[in-house]
């Protein structure tokens, strides 16, 4: 391993060695290294193969900004080697190269495929013959991509979490400006959160050898009690909510004021071969040297539009890198260039890079005059440092509503208007001298405090002083605007490294008519790769301006959208969380080997192993089912009856206490919403049951109308507090006699009566309803007694042949009676008229009720389709959802329920059929998976059509 001598701010711990593997080979590293710094120190120069042409790519930004060093870590693709810290034993592998990173057969697309692979080539070239597309797609998908996800992943090792954080001030960016802002706000009592992508605060200041300012600000942040989140990326700005991804945690930070001190992104230059390993951004090379003590090269040529590249040349020269030449795109040298000249470094003003040379990595560079004049020079080197200006990292600010305008003197898009509750500080708004950056940070911190309504005369005065200092100190740094491209006749020039978009591709797309930046983006995919435009937005805008003759301001930028940082889906998903509801009797269902499945939010037994036998037991002897999942609402108050009259199409105010009535809830559009039974307990109290799946919605529906109408009614949701079981069958009455003193004779307790009495010592509300078509008692009681009541009924019924039954036999039994299941037999378009329940609608009610007007309308219309029963002769049970065909063989309806009835010994079902066919004896044709079946319509219940059993 070749390392520089100890650097002042280095992160590595030289006494702690770590080993990991890269493509199976052992690599030595120090604690504090990143995968990238360790591999680079070990001599690795190729880190990845590009997306389309499979060209070699090496470290470039060393800040997690560009796509060049993406690797997979322990099988998970998408990690950036340059920022991912090393861990003992980690397994790092390259992406997107076969068979190996060093020898990639798909490189052929680069060498021979250029003219055949323009933008969108995969849709143009591979479109015919159409039937081969699946094959093409497979090949293309294998050739491109950013790694392979494991198809089957074991139980995830990590559990991502959400954390909600409410703060006074959030500061995004932990560089000099961000630290100054956080400290200024915290010193004045604000609750401040400071987030930064890096492992430590400091931002760009970390690469400076003078660490005095850095140390002072870090101490101030600490002293102010700021919550610092490191290795934490702000992903987006959603109306004041900033999601911050930190490892396994997604912090949802909502701050009253947000300060963005997101800095700038150093831009590459576009020239022939500008993607060759050995070409680095100036600051990237500095980071390698300063933070990890790794020499980025031996002999370097620098090309820069600003002082940033010149400072890099000085810094690298100091650590022993030979600077062969500096091409500075500005025509005037400036003071830093003079310093370089004094040190014997050749500074060529008005020069830029035309071409990078080398096969596997840089071995030389051709530089020439920016304006294309004579004086081209070829220089041997193993490192090319480029610095094409600093683009404000303004994406989050733009998401917050800030505006940008092209700034000619700076050569980039500068922020103009700031929305409320948002402040910006530091390099992102154009300050680039350390002292001014700190002041602008302090000002943003003070402004945020004042926007909170805090601060005092002293802080106001301090803010005004800083504001004045800033406007006095602000001056435009001398920058050169980089040309769109140089040396384009010498080889491929990449505008976008992520998606392998060359400058020719952009020209090509403009020729094809995609002449706005938003269109060119979608057509060429420039700015759509993992860097999200960090490296390619500005270059592609420049190219477009150059090609179309527009100004950069007129070309504009693409819309900034979340996420700003590529983030694992698992982090956005949070912790897998699927709550289940279980009734108080659930343990018994388990003991009875019930096949428990999901039913909405509930876990319910579908059967106990013998659905047909269980159904038959109910028809022949007795059965008991857990119906605790039913919604149960208590509606109380002087207006309770009138309230229900307005909610249901039928009447409840005239229901006698102790009596039960069935009701269907309709929407104002006349559609069926839910159904259930209502028992009047006394003059002012109604007990309303709803479907299991509709329980929550009906409670919301009731309370919404109540809020609107303001009637004297009180609603109590008893769904969770009460359990319920339904005891039914010819022997039900005899079983009841064993568990209660209540007179259950048909005279004393007739059909549709509700009575209150103890069962097995537990106070119960007993509803005699026709739930499954036999004499039945629906028993409601406090949940705590669930197992006790269940056990008592099974025990009392054992000599009569009672069986517990699940949801599936219940479906059979209800179908025998043509009892509709809302949501199964009806959908959001079903009206009571279509569902053959016109009897439930009382249009003669004087009062208004929900759905009245729509139902009045539908009462006069013949529905297109109607819900009816049918039987099938040949024993086939059609799939639910099978199509009902009309006489011409066209789809005209569908089967909603179908079962084999053990008591009737035939196939029965319900279906929506064309209304002209909705009469007894009509024949319908059902198409089920390619076969057709002939059924016969029946409009009255299959079992006990007159309801004599029910009332007996």
């Amino acid at each position: 391993m070749s390392r520089l001598p100890e650097q002042p701010g280095e992160r590595i711990a030289r006494h702690k060695q770590i080993t990991f593997t890269f493509d199976g080979k052992q690599v030595k590293a120090y604690e504090g290294d990143t995968i990238g710094s360790a591999l680079y120190a070990a001599g690795q120069r190729t880190f990845s193969r590009s997306f389309k042409y499979h060209r070699r790519r090496g470290l470039m930004c060393c800040a997690g900004q560009c796509p060049n060093c993406m690797v997979s870590v322990d099988g998970a693709p998408g990690a950036r080697a340059c920022t991912e810290p090393v861990r003992q034993g980690m397994q790092v592998e390259h992406l997107n190269a076969r068979p190996s990173l060093e020898f990639d057969v798909m490189r052929a697309t680069d060498l021979f495929g250029g003219p055949f692979t323009p933008p969108g080539f995969y849709y143009k070239t591979f479109i015919r013959p159409r039937r081969l597309w699946p094959l093409y797609e497979k090949v293309l998908r294998n050739a491109a991509g950013l790694g392979i996800l494991r198809e089957h992943q074991e139980e995830r090792e990590w559990r991502t979490e959400y954390r909600r954080r409410h703060a006074d001030v959030l500061v995004v960016g932990g560089g000099v400006a961000g630290m100054a802002a956080a400290a200024a706000a915290a010193e004045r009592g604000a609750d401040v959160v400071l987030v930064d992508e890096g492992p430590e605060l400091g931002g760009r200041a970390l690469i400076e050898s003078d660490r005095q300012q850095l140390g002072r600000l870090v101490s101030a942040v600490k002293a102010g009690g700021v919550e610092v989140l490191t290795r934490a990326c702000a992903l987006a700005y959603f109306d004041g909510l900033v999601p911050v991804w930190q490892g396994d945690i997604l912090h949802q930070v909502r701050a009253r004021q947000v300060v963005f001190a997101t800095g700038t992104i150093e831009q590459p230059l576009v020239f022939a071969g500008n993607d060759l390993p050995g070409i680095m951004l100036a600051d990237g090379a500095r980071r390698l040297a300063a933070l990890y003590a790794v020499a980025p090269g031996n002999r370097a040529v620098v090309a820069t539009t600003t002082d940033r590249g010149l400072h890099a040349a000085l810094a690298l020269e100091r650590v022993g890198v030979q600077i062969a030449a500096v091409a500075q795109l500005r025509p005037d040298p400036g003071p830093v260039a003079e310093e370089l000249s004094r040190r014997g470094i050749d500074v060529l003003a008005g020069y830029t890079v035309l071409e990078a040379r080398g096969r596997k990595q840089v071995d030389g560079v051709v530089i020439g005059a920016v304006n294309g004049g004579a004086g081209e020079r070829t220089i041997a080197c193993d490192l090319i440092l480029v610095s094409g200006g600093a683009m404000p990292a303004s994406s989050l600010l733009l998401q917050a509503g800030a505006q940008t305008r092209y700034d000619d003197t700076r050569g980039h898009f500068a922020l103009t208007d700031m929305p409320a509750a948002v402040f910006a500080a530091g390099e992102v708004i154009g300050f680039d001298e350390a002292e001014l950056v700190e002041r602008s940070g302090r000002l943003a911190g003070l402004d945020a405090v004042h926007a909170l309504g805090r601060g005092d005369a002293e802080s106001q005065a301090a803010a005004e002083t800083v504001r004045a200092e800033l406007s006095a100190g602000a001056r435009s740094a001398s920058v050169a605007v980089a040309p769109g491209v140089s040396g384009s006749d010498r080889g491929k020039c990449f505008a976008c490294l992520c998606e392998d978009v060359t400058t020719k591709d952009i020209a090509y797309s403009i020729e094809e008519g995609y002449d706005s930046i938003e269109l060119a983006k979608r057509y060429t995919t420039v700015t759509m790769g993992p860097c999200q435009g960090r490296m390619c937005q500005l270059p592609s805008v420049r190219l477009m301006a150059q090609q179309t003759g527009q100004s950069l301001g007129d070309v504009g930028t693409t819309t900034a959208r979340p996420p700003w940082v590529s983030v694992p889906m698992g982090v956005l998903a949070g912790r897998p969380f699927e709550p289940a509801k279980r009734s108080s009797i659930h343990g018994r269902h388990r003991e009875l080997n019930g096949s428990v499945k999901w039913a909405g939010d509930w876990r319910r037994p579908y059967d106990y192993g013998d659905p047909q036998g269980e159904a038959l037991a109910v028809n022949r002897a007795a059965g008991v089912i857990d119906v605790s999942t039913l919604g149960k609402l208590l509606v109380q108050g002087p207006d309770a009856g009138a309230f229900l009259d307005r909610l249901y199409p039928n009447r409840f105010s005239n229901l006698k206490p102790g009596r039960i009535r069935y009701g269907v809830i309709s929407s104002d559009a006349g559609r069926i919403v839910d159904d259930g039974t209502i028992c009047r307990l006394d003059e002012e109290t109604f007990y309303v049951t709803t479907t299991s799946s509709g329980a929550g919605a009906v409670e919301e529906w009731f309370s919404w109308w109540l809020a609107d109408w303001g009637m004297r009614v009180h609603l109590t949701d008893l769904t969770q507090g009460l359990s319920a079981v339904n005891l039914a069958g010819p022997k039900a009455r005899e079983i009841m006699a064993r568990v209660t003193d209540l007179d259950c004779s048909n005279e004393a307790f007739p059909y549709l009566d509700g009575q209150q009495a103890p069962i097995a010592g537990v106070p119960c509300l007993i509803l005699r309803i026709g739930f499954v078509g036999e004499v039945g008692y629906e028993i409601h009681f406090p949940s705590a007694h669930g197992e006790h009541v269940w056990d008592a009924l099974l025990e009392a019924g054992s000599e009569f042949g009672i069986r517990p039954f699940g949801l599936e036999p219940q479906r059979i039994l209800r179908l025998q009676k043509m009892h509709i299941i809302v949501g199964q037999d009806t959908d959001s378009e079903s009206t009571p008229y279509g569902a053959a329940m016109s009897w439930i609608v009382k249009l003669d009610k004087e009062e208004d009720f929900i759905g009245k007007w729509a139902l009045e309308h539908y009462a006069e219309e013949v529905p297109t389709t109607s819900l009816v029963g049918f039987t099938l002769a040949d024993g086939h049970v059609p799939t639910e959802g099978s199509v009902v065909l009309d006489e011409r063989g066209s789809p005209a309806g569908q089967v909603t329920s179908s079962r084999f009835s053990p008591v009737l010994r035939r196939v029965i079902g319900m279906a929506w059929v064309p209304t002209p066919l909705a009469h007894d004896g009509a024949r319908i044709t059902i198409s089920d998976e390619g076969q057709t079946f002939s059924g016969e319509i029946q409009t009255q219940p299959f079992y006990d059509p007159a309801g004599e059993v029910l009332r007996s």
Binding site: F238, D668, A669, D717, H857
Partner: protein, 90 residues
């Protein structure tokens, strides 16, 4: 969409605590024409700006209340239980 909402019963909560009930519409007082009925059932003003709307504190006290909100900025101007909201500005 993301903002804070003040439940009149419980106080300030994340918007994800609540269910949205839509803009406040007025149910026809007298028998509407079929067109008026369909307009009431299916058409929304979809205001880009300040509107009054229903909210339900689903993960809290389960009360319905009224909020006035700017749909473009997510600024909530007031929340109130029905009956205690200020008169709408003319």
């Amino acid at each position: 969409m993301s903002f804070l909402l003040t439940c009149p019963n419980c106080g300030v909560r994340e918007v994800t605590d609540f269910a949205f009930g839509g803009e406040i519409s007025s149910r026809p007082k007298a028998r509407p024409s079929f067109r008026e009925l369909n307009t009431y059932n299916y058409f929304r003003r979809n205001t880009a700006g300040v509107q009054r709307e229903w909210w339900f504190h689903r993960s809290g006290c389960r009360a319905w209340f009224i909020a006035e909100r700017n749909t473009t900025t997510q600024e909530v101007l007031f929340t109130a239980l029905p009956g205690s909201e200020p008169e709408p500005a003319a």
